[in-house]
Symmetry: C2
Subunit: 193 residues, 2 copies
DNA sequence: CGCGGCGTGAACCGATCGGTCCAGTATTGG
DNA sequence: CCAATACTGGACCGATCGGTTCACGCCGCG
């Protein structure tokens, strides 16, 4: 069998960066060719479904990364505060401290991609659910409150990314990361500061 | 002078909806033609700069709407709580209770549009600044805290929009609206609930 | 060593992209 | 009522869009 110039993982990484920066419509095949160093036929050979399959594959990969890496500490044994901090650090790194955008945002504008849309929704729900279960199981928050807090926590992260991207100031996103303990671990909402 | 089929305002409203729903790259000229009922030449006559000028005009219009309508209550005399509530209601209506996206998000992915990018940044800064001045002048928050709170408030709104759009659940956005008083009016962060 | 097959490059496809041109229409001011 | 003006329709442009085809080269396996 012929040897591939770049591994599946390398290509998917490049694709991920592309879709993050430019969204679905903004990521043209020619841009993908330039960035990956592969030509159309090579791309098409790996992704028979074309661009949409590429986007779906990227979503799957990132969803897997969230499940097995970024959000994994939430389900491990140990001190809840430390586990949440670990997850926060990984999220911070994943989003380049606010420099990189989120696929859930940039990849969901194209309406005529139900496959991508469904994956995004599932990934978001998994994320929120992971936060909620952590707040409920490890921190004793009542179920409904835990769900609200989880939604708000992810919302704060996503919003921070938008603000940081548009304003060029990473502080809002970093504060969203730092606020995770207050959001998911405290029963009432008071802050010491 | 010839009579125009649709007023400047009608066309700009349609364009606003288009750019909100599909982003910059996703809003093709043919889509614009269908939605506005105008043909390319007519569009091009009104916007010599083409699609980029349309996007810029939309940004200008919405920025003006924020300044003279949505955020205006913050600078009026009267009870701060009521003024903030008024602004919240207008924001809620503007974003269709979470169904409609924000241009600051959907229009800032295309990097090779410095004009649009600059307008978005300015509009966002104006928004944050309006919140911050309200928190400082009307609610007595110290300047630096007011600025942080304002950033976080806008961040919560933007995040709520993303979550609501992807999940199809409007609750997160509505909670972001409801949380405005806590965010901008309270010196410490405790909540009664 | 040669065979089978995966992976790749280049050429090519129709459709659509954003943008341009100009002749015509309609309307208002003089 | 005529001319200047504001606007619109349709045809057209080159470039690029996403997608497809096919033959060749390269590799591992027998």
């Amino acid at each position: 069998m012929g040897l591939q110039k770049f591994s599946e993982n390398e290509v998917l990484s490049t694709l991920t960066g592309l879709f993050r920066d430019h969204g679905y419509d903004g990521t043209s095949l020619s841009l993908i060719m330039k960035a990956t160093g592969l030509v159309k036929a090579s791309l098409y050979h790996r992704f028979r479904g074309g661009k949409e399959e590429m986007a779906a594959a990227v979503m799957d990969r990132v969803a897997g990364e969230f499940a097995t890496d970024l959000l994994a500490p939430l389900n491990e044994p140990g001190d809840p505060a430390e586990r949440l901090w670990k997850t926060g650090e990984r999220l911070r790194k994943f989003y380049g401290s606010g420099k990189k955008a989120c696929l859930l945002d940039t990849l969901t504008l194209n309406r005529e991609s139900p496959a991508v849309q469904a994956r995004a929704k599932a990934a978001l729900e998994f994320w929120i659910d992971s936060f909620a279960r952590f707040a409920e199981d490890s921190c004793g928050l009542p179920r409904v409150l835990a769900m609200e807090r989880a939604q708000d926590a992810v919302s704060a992260l996503e919003g921070g990314l938008v603000i940081s991207r548009v304003s060029g100031n990473r502080a809002p996103f970093l504060r969203a990361i730092e606020s995770l303990p207050e959001r998911l671990m405290l029963v009432s909402g008071e802050v010491s500061k």
